[in-house]
Symmetry: C2
Subunit: 214 residues, 2 copies
């Protein structure tokens, strides 16, 4: 029987609130990521080296050229529902997630957790949970209007690509964190902050698509 995700993960995922016991058993492979969730409040960052801000920039012509090239690159992005199973070096995924982690966030709380899943069995268990929830969305939760609005996109609750993709990147918002004194630490604008980080993640992935950037 499915159970609630344990709150000590500190992350809350809108869609995947229920985890089957099997998933709970397997989830420790992700602890390298989830461990960050309970990271303690560091106080003023006195131990962090100061990196001076550089205000260098390109010439006007170069800026026009670069902004145009980046637009053309990002404009090639498509939301697809069929994915390649070709392997991708793990280092690429790590760099992409590090890039997302440079995102700004409300009061610099960095309220995100990225979980990379590569294990085929775990990917399949996640697919089952997602499809079960999505089927409820389509059949009763979201209503006729939502189903009708999605018709032209020709989507449904079957998500084969969750098995196919070499990696799944699960993105969690941390609605709060913990202070050393055991009290909750508010994460202001956590959903907005995590979504901005997702935008940067998408840009970082699109940089892997060939299109010369000058």
């Amino acid at each position: 029987m499915p159970v609630q995700a344990k709150v000590h993960y500190g992350g809350e995922c809108q869609r995947y609130k229920r985890w089957s016991p099997e998933v709970n058993k397997i989830i420790p492979i992700c602890f390298c990521f989830l461990a960050e969730v309970d990271e303690e409040w560091q106080g003023p960052e006195e131990n962090v080296a100061h990196v001076p801000f550089s205000a260098e920039h390109y010439t006007e012509a170069e800026m026009i050229q670069r902004s145009k090239m980046f637009y053309e690159l990002l404009n090639k992005r498509r939301s697809v529902r069929f994915l390649s199973d070709e392997p991708v070096p793990r280092e690429v995924i790590d760099n992409v997630i590090r890039t997302a982690g440079t995102s700004p966030s409300g009061a610099h709380t960095e309220p995100w957790t990225f979980v990379v899943v590569q294990d085929p069995y775990l990917k399949h268990k996640i697919r089952e949970i997602v499809e079960e929830e999505e089927e409820i969305n389509y059949k009763k939760r979201m209503g006729d209007r939502w189903v009708n609005d999605l018709k032209r996109l020709r989507t449904n609750w079957i998500k084969e690509y969750l098995d196919t993709a070499p990696y799944l990147i699960l993105i969690f918002k941390q609605v709060y964190g913990w202070l050393p004194n055991g009290k909750k630490k508010t994460h202001y604008y956590n959903e907005i902050s995590v979504s901005i980080a997702c935008g940067i993640l998408l840009a970082a992935l699109q940089v892997l698509i060939p299109k010369k950037l000058a």
Copy 2:
């Protein structure tokens, strides 16, 4: 006396809900952008040319290299509260906003409006509204805890940079749109969608900072 923003803009901005009559008088300079807000429902996109998806990608070594370079570039981004007044070609800003507009969105509703403000008088009026609202945030709306949490960031409600920057890009979420029959069109996940677009906008701006991308 400040008045509510007119709902036919279709956009709602969390912080700047009140507009002074002066701003309302001036706002038509932005209509080229705001006009998009009332865009009619196009139905299935039969008139839009089909752009085939390309699944080309770099070699593994190239992907590692590019993902690393992009991380290093984005990692140079800083949230600053002092800005240069140096002019920037408008074409650059347009390209950056076009790039943000390639973002995915819930049910492809694209529920965003970007308003570029260059007029010094209008920028100053916006600064006044923002500072007025922010002063309320600091002094009573958000509470002691919020004020305390922000202390280490050394921020306050004074935002000189809103006068200094050559452009302000105001970003609105469209909580709903309009159908040709005059009924409201739901914009699913509008805040998440707009925030993802903001992440892509930030990436596009950071591409203007010198750091070779190979």
